[in-house]
């Protein structure tokens, strides 16, 4: 447990040593802020539905940008060799890096609370969907972080890791939007696979165990895949 904390702390600090963290956070806030406020006054509703509606698409390329370096950079630079010969287990390394990415997503989401505060000042805000939206955003961020981590473990090239991660995250976000192309028998399964479908359920303010189970199991699968990739490198 201590080792997970040490890796988490090191990785989290590394984000803020390089300018990448500030750039990613700035881009995230710029995009979400722009899309949210550009239509906010047209709808004339005190809700963050637009913000949470866009979040899965924005996370699909922002989160893989956050995670792309976690393994790729180490493998490329060779520091992976020292890391894996320190008295650490695969699980500790993976969880440390994963939690660092999730912590970063959390930090990235914090300034968006100002949107909620602004909306509260302008009208009566239903608190349920807001809390649900942020919990869902954290689940979604965790799932995409796990997928990004897997993509990062697959290659020594950060750009390729980013493309793989973004590709998978986009696919999971958009899969339930493409259902009209697909045979009826697959609809139920594909809808269940879609991350956006589960996220939007939680963002309505309803914490259903099926949605939580989806995020937990999908994140676990991605992290387990990362472990298999690391074992394969031995």
């Amino acid at each position: 447990m201590k080792n997970i904390r040490h890796i988490l702390s090191k990785e989290f600090k590394s984000y803020f040593i390089a300018p990448i963290a500030y750039i990613v956070i700035a881009i995230f806030l710029l995009i979400t802020g722009w899309f949210f406020f550009s239509t906010f006054f047209l709808y004339n509703q005190a809700s963050l539905r637009n913000f949470f509606g866009l979040l899965p698409i924005i996370f699909s390329f922002i989160v893989p940008a956050v995670t792309m370096r976690l393994f790729s950079e180490e493998i490329h630079a060779g520091s992976y060799e020292i890391l894996m010969t320190l008295p650490l287990t695969f699980g500790e390394v993976i969880l440390g890096k994963f939690l660092a990415a999730v912590a970063f997503v959390l930090v990235m989401l914090l300034p968006t609370l100002s949107y909620a505060i602004t909306v509260t000042l302008l009208g009566r805000l239903d608190i349920g969907p807001i809390v649900g939206g942020y919990i869902g955003a954290l689940f979604l961020g965790a799932l995409f972080s796990a997928i990004g981590l897997l993509a990062s473990a697959l290659t020594r090239n950060q750009i390729i890791a980013f493309i793989i991660g973004t590709g998978i995250c986009f696919a999971l976000t958009l899969v339930d939007k493409m259902l009209f192309f697909l045979p009826e028998s697959l609809l139920g399964v594909l809808e269940y696979i879609g991350a956006d479908f589960h996220f939007q359920n939680i963002a309505k303010g309803i914490l259903d165990s099926r949605d939580i189970l989806y995020f937990a199991s999908a994140s676990f699968l991605a992290l387990y895949g990362t472990r298999l990739v690391m074992q394969g490198k031995k």
Binding site: K2, N3, H6, I7, K10, K13, S14, I17, A18, A77, G78, S79, E81, I82, M84, T85, L86, P87, L88, T89, K234
Partner: protein
Amino acid sequence: MIKVENLTKYYGEICAVNDIGFEIRRGEILGLLGPNGAGKTTFMRILTCYLNPSAGTIQVKDFNIREHPLAIKKLIGYLPENAPLYPDMLVFDYLQYVADIRGLDRETKRRRIDQLAATCSIQEVMHQPIAELSKGYKQRVGLAQAMMGDPEILVLDEPTSGLDPNQIIEIREIIKKIGKEKTIILSTHILSEAEATCDRVVIIHKGRIVADSPIEDLKQSLGKESVIALAFRNGDFAAVQNTLSRIAGVAAVEKAEGGDGVLAVNVTCKTGEDIRDLIYRSIRAQDWLLLEFVQQTRSLENIFRELTREK
């Protein structure tokens, strides 16, 4: 301390380490020699539990690399080739991170970092980013991280590669200092380094061990024939060959590369006989103008080249 048994490692079809076996005693400084691609780094990576072997095993004290990798990692400090560290981190932060992972408590950590900074002479760069360090300093920081957990075994892959002569001497001194207390396994291309620092060498070629013994024993066992290099002013090789071949104990007389107006000759002597006085008397009797008379000792370089020569 370390027992390597029938160790084999394949990368796809390529056999990097081919059924090797040897033992390393406690407190020994073992040099792993071999040309590029011989399998030295692969062996070190298996020993440090970075790679799994395809067959065979390594026993470190009571632990087996397959069953107890974590226990072995605690016993070993490892410096890979070119010291791959985190360029963005400060030296101090990096050492602190390694100390945390190695499970050192706050007080021990502080003491250990101070001690290693002094041993590896990195005090003046402790608060600099690793990316800004010279190669020599990076190597020293790498050494410090390898020693952080006060491991019983140190594995150093080409610790002096790419360093300038002064840096090489400094790193060599540090290794010698550490070697008084630890078991050290180091790989190197620089044979003089192995001669200067190691108690014993293992020469690996194409994944197999071609020699394993203390350096002096190796020189003696392979150096049965000694060579005397001679140089004459305007000598006639046929006459020299004719005269010297008649001396009992001379195995061969061969022409060597000489300069302008200089005849260079190598006289190979049989099995350890010292016939220098006989050769000298023969030369003096002929009234040749002798410029050089050098008994060549077989260096580790010669032995290495002989053992790893492509057949």
